[in-house]
Amino acid sequence: MTTAPGPADPFVHPALFYGDPGEYLAGTVPFVRAALAADEPVAVAVPGENLRLIQDELGADGAAVRFLDMREAGRNPGRIIPGVLRAFADGRPPGRRVRIVGEPVWAGRSPAEYPACAQHEALINAAFRGREVTILCPYDTARLDERALADAHATHPVVIPAGSGAERASAVYDPEGVVARYNVPPGPAPGAGPDVLGVAFDAESLSAARHLATGHGARLGLSGAGLENLALITAELTTNSVIHGGGTGALTVWPEGGHVLCEVRDKGRFTDPLAGRRPAARDQRGGRGLLLVNLVADLVRIHTGPEGTTIRCYLGR
């Protein structure tokens, strides 16, 4: 409990609990309408079916609202801060609050996605500290499990209990604790097998490793932009290992369900939890590799610790 924002922090990040469509609309639509009435920029980034609920309720008033299907724009939780939230909030005229309804956690999130979702919700607080922004995050009490609902109390400084409309401080707010708790290994990569490419790399073999990864990705069914993305992800992760991660690493590429997974391990350690989640400043040279990985992958899981760092990326095939 070291990170509770002071009373002066203009960033507001409530979790809105809802049990049915009525509670959903009662919690979100007045928020959007208040923004419209105050001429404040407002976006709604929620799963498609909830997006349609809000759009139907707003009718013609929705014309001034930016709508995004979070299932697409926020499929990879690591993409949401740079690609959805800051993409909308940055560059707005000062003096006017930016309001966003953001629903990154829904019942269909897979066990592989969920830890990245929880970390994302926790990191929003650091990413927007000090900014004139409100991000309202709806949580479906009827369909989400207990863990997701409990985590929402730890990732949001304020909560709005289902059907109440009344905001109160969360007694268990602890975003850094959530980031640490979900800094877990993504499960072992498979050992050798016909579908598994495992290769050690260093500065001399960066290019060869990338070629092996794309050759294998093509055999596993990637093509077009998906295969280009595998090349980019492999290049950025392996180059990072060579420059920042001790000079060498291990690359593994294998299939899992509808995805091709690409994992890089090295001896480096991540010290900045927001790495790859900030839009690059216009004049910033370098430092965009992990941001690109977050923007193009369907899921990025990161585990980092004294023993090294593992980054696992999922690409739809």
Binding site: G191, V199, S205, A208, L212, A235, L295, H303
Partner: protein, 121 residues
């Protein structure tokens, strides 16, 4: 975390340490260069020098013939973005048939960048 790193598979999957190449040739008949090979960490410096020359030469339009370029990493795209930004008003780089991912990377990481035109024909 499993104690073992991803095991390198023997022989078949061990990368052959053949160095990647990037070759740059001046165009004949118009200002610009043709690049063949890939832009990655080992070849980045060649790419940087070629683009520094492009900026220095001061032409309004400078052509980059990139159909034989197989790959450009994010740092390589950044070199291009920096070059485009330092061109100044009215000047531009025309990328002829770049690898498909390059315009996409530029759009994702340098949205609204002026000074670069992509030509597919």
């Amino acid at each position: 975390m499993s104690p073992e790193p991803a095991r390198p598979r023997p022989a078949a999957a061990a990368p052959v340490p053949a160095g990647p190449r990037l070759d740059v040739y001046p165009l004949t008949g118009r200002r610009g260069f043709r690049a063949a090979g890939e832009v990655s960490l080992p070849t980045r410096v060649i790419w940087e020098r070629a683009l520094e020359r492009a900026v220095r030469e001061g032409e309004d339009v400078y052509y980059l013939e990139l159909s034989a370029l197989t790959f450009v990493d994010v740092a390589g795209a950044g070199v291009l973005a920096d070059a485009a930004r330092s061109l100044g008003e009215g000047r531009r780089l025309v990328l002829h048939r770049p690898p498909g991912s390059l315009p996409r990377v530029l759009d994702l990481l340098w949205p609204g960048l002026a000074g670069i035109e992509v030509s597919a024909s």
